[in-house]
C-alpha cells in the first residue's frame, strides 16, 4: 500500500489527478478508482483483482448473488475495510492505506445508505437526518434545522420529522436513511441494497429518490443490489424539473449509457457494461440471473 496522498500509477490514465476538489466539479472526472483490489477473509476470497472507475455524476450498479462481495466494495470505499492488495482512490486521494483519522476527511465527500437504513434508534428522525451537521459541524442550529427540513421535504417525509425511527415503515426508514446521507451534500452516494425487503411500490419511491439525487443534485451514485427491476429503473429513468415540479421520465440513450452495470461472480467481474449490453448478453450465468 502506498502513501495516501500519492497519485494513481500512469497506466491508469483516467484516474483523478491534481486538486481533487477542483477536479470533481467537472463532469465525467473519475471520482472513485479501484485498481487490482484483492480481499480475502481467512481462506475465503471475497474480491480478486477488481478494477473499475466511477465518473462524476455517473452511476455504477453492482449486481451479483448474495455473498458475491458487493457490499464489501462499499465498505472498502468508505475505509470501513482495508484491501489485502491493490489501490483505491477517492476524489484523487489514495485511501487504502489511510488511517481512521485521515479517512474521516474523505468520508465528508461520501454518503452511505446502509442496508435496512441503520438509523440510530435513540434519536428522532430530525436528529438522525441532521446528525452530521449537529454533531460534526459548527453550523448554527437554525441553519441545520432548515437543511433537515429541506432534505426531509425532498424525500417527502416532512411530516414525520419528530417521530422515532421505530414508528416508521420500512420504506420510510430507507428514505430517512437517504435523507441522512444527503444532508451534508456529499458528491458521492453509496447505496447498499436500498430496496431489499420492500414491496414493489415502495421500492419505486426509493428508486425515484436515487434518480432525483443523481440528476438534480449531480451526485455520483454507486448502488449495490440484486433487485434487477430497481437497477434497471434507476438506469433507464431520469429526473427533470419542469415548472418547479420534479418528474421522472424515461432516459435517452446517452443518459442510459452513463449508468454502468458490474456483475460480480466469485469475487471477479463477470460483466461490465450498460443496461442495453446487459440485456443483450448471451452469457449463461447472466441469462440465469436476468431471468
Amino acid at each position: 500500500m502506498g502513501t495516501p496522498a500519492a497519485q494513481p500509477p500512469s497506466r491508469n490514465a483516467s484516474a483523478p489527478r491534481g486538486d481533487a476538489d477542483t477536479a470533481v466539479l467537472e463532469p465525467d472526472v473519475p471520482v472513485i478508482v479501484f485498481e487490482g483490489v484483492d480481499l480475502a477473509f481467512d481462506d475465503k476470497v471475497i474480491l480478486r483483482n477488481l478494477s473499475f472507475t466511477i465518473r462524476q455524476g455517473h452511476t455504477k450498479i453492482f449486481l451479483g448473488a448474495s455473498g458475491a462481495g458487493k457490499s464489501t466494495i462499499l465498505k472498502l470505499i468508505l475505509g470501513l475495510l482495508k484491501p489485502d492488495a491493490g489501490a483505491i482512490w477517492v476524489k484523487g486521494q489514495r485511501v487504502d492505506g489511510m488511517s481512521e483519522v485521515e479517512m474521516m476527511k474523505i468520508r465528508h465527500d461520501l454518503g452511505m445508505v446502509f442496508q435496512e437504513g441503520a438509523l440510530f434508534d435513540s434519536l428522532t428522525v430530525r436528529e438522525n437526518v441532521g446528525y452530521k451537521l449537529y454533531e460534526e459541524t459548527d453550523l448554527p442550529l437554525d441553519q441545520v434545522h432548515a437543511r433537515v427540513e429541506e432534505v426531509l421535504g425532498f424525500v417527502g417525509l416532512g411530516e414525520h420529522i419528530d417521530k422515532a425511527p421505530s414508528a416508521l415503515s420500512g420504506g420510510q426508514r430507507r428514505r430517512v436513511a437517504i435523507a441522512r446521507a444527503m444532508t451534508a451534500k456529499p458528491p458521492i452516494l453509496l447505496y447498499d441494497e436500498p430496496t431489499t425487503g420492500l414491496d414493489p411500490i415502495t421500492s419505486v419511491t426509493v428508486d425515484a429518490e436515487i434518480v432525483k439525487l443523481r440528476d438534480l443534485e449531480n451526485v455520483s451514485t454507486i448502488m449495490v443490489t440484486h433487485q434487477l427491476r430497481d437497477a434497471f429503473y434507476v438506469a433507464e429513468h431520469t429526473a427533470i424539473r419542469e415548472n418547479g415540479e420534479v418528474r421522472l421520465v424515461p432516459a435517452d440513450a446517452a443518459k442510459v449509457a452513463e449508468t454502468e452495470f458490474i456483475m460480480l461472480r466469485d469475487g471477479e467481474i463477470a460483466f461490465e457494461g450498460d443496461a442495453h449490453e446487459l440485456r443483450a448478453s448471451s452469457d449463461p450465468y447472466l441469462k440465469a440471473f436476468l431471468s
Binding site: G111, F114, F120, K132, E135, E136
Partner: protein, 254 residues
C-alpha cells in the same frame, strides 16, 4: 484447538488494550461529546442509585445481624459498628457496588453497543465522520470511572445506616455506642483504600462492556452472547482487579 483458543484469547487482549489506549487518547484530545458524557453520568450514576442503595442497605443490615450474634458469644456486641464500618468501607462497599453496576451497566452497554454493531449503526457513525470510540466509549468510561466511586460512597453510607438500624432495634445497642464504634475503627488509610479502588473497578466494568459490545457479531444471538460475556468477564475482572489493587494499596498505604 488449544492453539486457536490461545490465538483468540491473545487477540481479545490486544483489541482490549487498543480500545483502552484509544479511550485514553479520546479523553485528552478533541473532539469531545459533552452531551453524551452528561447523559452517561445520568444513566450510569443516577440510574444505578436505586440498586446500589438497596444492595448497600441490606448488606449492612445482614452484616450487623450476622456479626452481632457471633460477637455476642464473646460479649462484644458493642463492637458491631467497628466490624461493619471496616468491612463496608474497605471491601464490601466497593466490590458489591461494582458487581451491581456490572450487572446493570456492563450488560446494558454490551447490549446497546452490540445491537448497534449488528445493525450497522456503528458503521453508520463512522461513515458520518464520527469516531465511535469517542462518541460511545469515552463518555461511558468517564462516567464509570467517576460515578462508581460516588455510588460506593452512597453504598457505604446506606450500609452503615442499615447496620445501625439492626444494631439499635434488633441487637439493642445504643445508637451513640454504634456510631462511636464506627468512627473509632476507621483510619484514613481505610478510607483511601475504599475510595481509590472504585476508580479502577469502574474503569474495568465499563471498558469491558464497551469492548465486548463493539466486538459483537452474529445478529441477535451475538447480542445475547455479548451481554452474558460482559457480565461474566466484568464480574471476574472486578474480583481480580480488587485483589491486585488491594495488594498494591496495602504496600503503599499501610
Amino acid at each position: 484447538m488449544i492453539y486457536d483458543w490461545v490465538k483468540q484469547a491473545l487477540l481479545e487482549v490486544q483489541e482490549y488494550a487498543k480500545l483502552c489506549i484509544a479511550v485514553f487518547r479520546g479523553m485528552v484530545t478533541r473532539p469531545f461529546y459533552f452531551r453524551d458524557v452528561i447523559e452517561q453520568f445520568d444513566a450510569i450514576g443516577l440510574g444505578s442509585l436505586t440498586v446500589v442503595i438497596l444492595t448497600g442497605g441490606f448488606t449492612g443490615a445482614v452484616l450487623a445481624l450476622q456479626s452481632g450474634f457471633t460477637l455476642d458469644t464473646f460479649g462484644a456486641r458493642t463492637a458491631v459498628g467497628r466490624l461493619v464500618s471496616a468491612s463496608m468501607v474497605k471491601e464490601l462497599g466497593p466490590v458489591l457496588t461494582a458487581l451491581m453496576v456490572c450487572g446493570r451497566v456492563g450488560s446494558g452497554i454490551a447490549a446497546e453497543l452490540g445491537s448497534m454493531m449488528v445493525t450497522d449503526q456503528i458503521n453508520a457513525l463512522r461513515a458520518l465522520g464520527t469516531d465511535p470510540i469517542r462518541k460511545l466509549a469515552v463518555p461511558r468510561v468517564l462516567a464509570g470511572i467517576l460515578m462508581v466511586p460516588i455510588l460506593t460512597i452512597v453504598s457505604n453510607c446506606v450500609g452503615m445506616v442499615g447496620a445501625w438500624f439492626i444494631t439499635v432495634w434488633q441487637l439493642r445497642v445504643a445508637s451513640s455506642v454504634y456510631w462511636n464504634s464506627v468512627v473509632d475503627s476507621l483510619y484514613m488509610a481505610d478510607v483511601w483504600m475504599g475510595l481509590i479502588k472504585p476508580f479502577f473497578l469502574g474503569f474495568a466494568i465499563v471498558s469491558i462492556g464497551c469492548h465486548v459490545g463493539l466486538r459483537t457479531s452474529g445478529g441477535t444471538q451475538g447480542v445475547g452472547r455479548a451481554t452474558t460475556n460482559a457480565v461474566v468477564a466484568g464480574s471476574v475482572a472486578v474480583l481480580v482487579v480488587d485483589f491486585f489493587v488491594t495488594k498494591i494499596l496495602f504496600s503503599v498505604l499501610y
